[in-house]
């Protein structure tokens, strides 16, 4: 069955990412109990699931922050074992974490280049001028409105910070981009801006995206396919064209009712 699916996919587009049987435990708690997930080249995959379903753990495992206890990951069809975020990055996997991983005390451009700083080779000194130039260009490309590239990130609004974090990931040559609830703390206008950006990236086809979302309608707006994560497993996997907000809502509510009656 898994074999067949793989062959079908191969006919459509090459696989950017595949996770098989990913298990992650924290002491007695099993956060992920065998996740099977795949992402095609240039695809936008919506990943939804209620609080505590293991979404953030899955993201952190895919990006090398956590190491899975069991299971195997494949990038471009090749098996990989991720030991660090840096290694995941080197493979082109970038994440915008829910807490954004921004440093309030540092400027926008230093945040955008955090841990991939440009230096004045062969000297180990920061090339601030070039980082400013590029960061400004990226921010302008995205249509984000910020006071200045020198602004401390702590001064920006939630939406602006989110946009900086997304821009940082997009422009760091990511090929697989994971967005962990990018629309969580955002007003309607800023949310629309981020969705437009995802749409733009999808049209350009230069990255494959996993969009983790709480809000189902966002998923149907930009995603090609939707996966539902329940109790540390992918329980549902369909193209958005064959699915609907109502169907997903029903599934989640039914699961909740079942859990309540058995407990």
């Amino acid at each position: 069955m898994a074999q067949n699916r793989q062959e079908d996919d191969a006919a459509v587009a090459p696989e950017a990412l595949r996770a098989e049987g990913i298990v992650k435990r924290f002491g007695a708690l099993t956060a992920l109990s065998g996740v099977d997930l795949h992402l095609q080249q240039g695809e936008v995959l919506g990943l939804i699931g209620d609080n505590g379903a293991g979404k953030s753990t899955l993201i952190k495992t895919i990006t090398g922050f956590h190491r899975p206890d069991e299971g195997q990951m494949y990038v471009d069809g090749k098996p990989v074992t991720l030991r660090s975020v840096a290694q995941a990055r080197a493979l082109g996997i970038e994440t915008v974490f829910q807490d954004l991983a921004l440093i309030s005390e540092l400027s926008v451009y230093h945040n955008m280049f955090l841990n991939s700083e440009l230096t004045l080779k062969p000297f180990p000194l920061l090339n601030n001028r070039k980082m400013k130039e590029r960061a400004k260009q990226y921010i302008d490309d995205m249509g984000v409105n910020i006071p200045s590239i020198d602004t401390q990130v702590g001064r920006l609004s939630g939406g602006q910070r989110q946009a900086i974090a997304v821009a940082r990931s997009v422009y760091s040559d990511a090929r697989i981009l994971l967005l962990d609830e990018p629309l969580a703390a955002m007003g309607a206008k800023e949310g629309a801006m981020i969705l437009d950006l995802v749409q733009k990236l999808k049209n350009e086809g230069r990255v494959s995206i996993i969009l983790i979302a709480h809000n189902y309608s966002h998923v149907f707006e930009v995603c090609d396919r939707v996966n539902l994560l329940q109790h540390g497993r992918i329980s549902y996997d369909k193209p958005t064209s064959e699915s609907s907000v109502e169907e997903l809502t029903e599934l989640v509510v039914a699961e909740y009712r079942k859990a309540r009656t058995t407990s």
């Binding site: 975020v85 440093i103 309030s104 540092l106 000194l125 920061l126 006071p147 602004t151 001064r155």
Partner: protein
């Protein structure tokens, strides 16, 4: 523009609350002005002491001022790195005493240049232990380095049987490393410049700010926060050791009781007065240097006037409390600015 720059006091804090961003702009301005204002305080103090005693700016006294300053200033630059990481090293004053002792012992069997390297490496190892205890064993650095403070204080006395030893002297190397007049302050200025560049112009410095500002976020972005912290512990300890070597070679004697809490607390005070927040995330090397200069001028000036050490301590206490209050005030301005 003029409004932001001029609006001090109540007006500034009110507008900070009403418009997000302005508060942090004001606080940034104050931080940048911190270095300038400490510089002005140093000048004002120098003018005051010179007017009350013309010996203050004599070349002899300026030299002794420089000798008051350099060791503490070198230590405070190392402490700034740690404080920005959100950590502290209470044992750095003992590393100051330990390096010359390790050098002395190594000098019994090895050539002096190697012995000096041994002294510096020994203190780097002390920093490594502090760092590993803090980062990997998760002992708060205040406690880990407090333990190291007592341990090393005892080791220093045991290794010397409690008696001062004569420091090596008379060679080109000992002259360069503290023996010659002005060599100590020259090293200090070179180190201040180096540390300023390290903190503000290199990835290491940027990652140090990131580690202290948002440890989780920094590690999610791939910053090796553990390596940054351990490295800064080693750097701080080794700088403490280097300051101790310079002093031992200048004085010509290796005192088992040298350094200790006094020089460490002075260096912490200098960093705090210079605008480094103990909570981490912000700080400047130049500020710490100027903070040391102010403390040295006060200490030296008051002793020229015959003011007792106790009075000096009262003034030092007030200076630190004022500086800390200002830090907290600036911090709350920034938070309100975040809105």
């Amino acid at each position: 523009m003029a409004k932001q720059a001029v609006g001090g006091g109540v007006g500034a804090s009110e507008s900070a609350r009403s418009s997000p961003g302005l508060g942090s702009r004001v606080s940034e301005l104050m931080l940048r002005q911190r270095e300038a204002s400490i510089f002005l305080v140093a000048i004002a103090l120098a003018v005051y002491f010179q007017s009350s005693n013309s010996a203050f700016l004599s070349s002899g006294n300026i030299r002794s001022l420089s000798e008051f300053t350099y060791a503490t200033a070198i230590i405070s630059t190392g402490l700034v790195m740690l404080l920005i990481c959100g950590e502290i090293d209470l044992s750095v004053g003992q590393a100051y005493g330990f390096a010359p002792i390790a050098m002395y012992l190594a000098d019994q069997t090895l050539v002096l240049p190697v012995a000096i390297v041994v002294g510096l490496l020994a203190t780097a190892v002390i920093g490594l232990i502090n760092g590993v205890a803090t980062v990997y064993l998760r002992v708060p650095s205040f406690i880990a380095t407090l333990g190291m403070f007592f341990f090393l204080g005892g080791v220093n006395v045991i290794l010397t049987d409690g008696f001062p030893k004569t420091a090596p002297s008379g060679s080109f190397l000992t002259e360069i490393l503290g023996g010659a007049d002005w060599s100590g302050i020259a090293w200090c200025l070179v180190i201040v410049l180096f540390m300023h560049i390290l903190l503000n112009r290199t990835r290491w410095g940027l990652h140090t700010f990131a580690t202290g500002g948002n440890p989780v976020g920094a590690s999610e972005a791939g910053v090796k926060t553990a390596r940054i912290k351990v490295g800064n512990f080693m750097l701080c300890s080794a700088l403490g050791g280097f300051a101790g070597l310079l002093d031992a070679l200048r004085i010509g004697s290796i005192d088992p009781l040298a350094g200790g809490p006094n020089i460490m607390f002075f260096a912490v005070s200098a960093a705090v007065i210079g605008g480094t927040a103990l909570a981490g995330g912000t700080g400047t090397v130049i500020g710490a240097f100027l903070g040391t200069v102010v403390l040295s001028i006060m200490q030296n000036g008051f002793s020229l006037q015959g003011v007792s050490a106790y009075t000096f301590n009262v003034i030092l206490g007030i200076a630190i409390l004022t500086a800390m209050t200002l830090n907290v005030y600036v911090g709350s301005l920034r938070r309100s600015g975040r809105g």
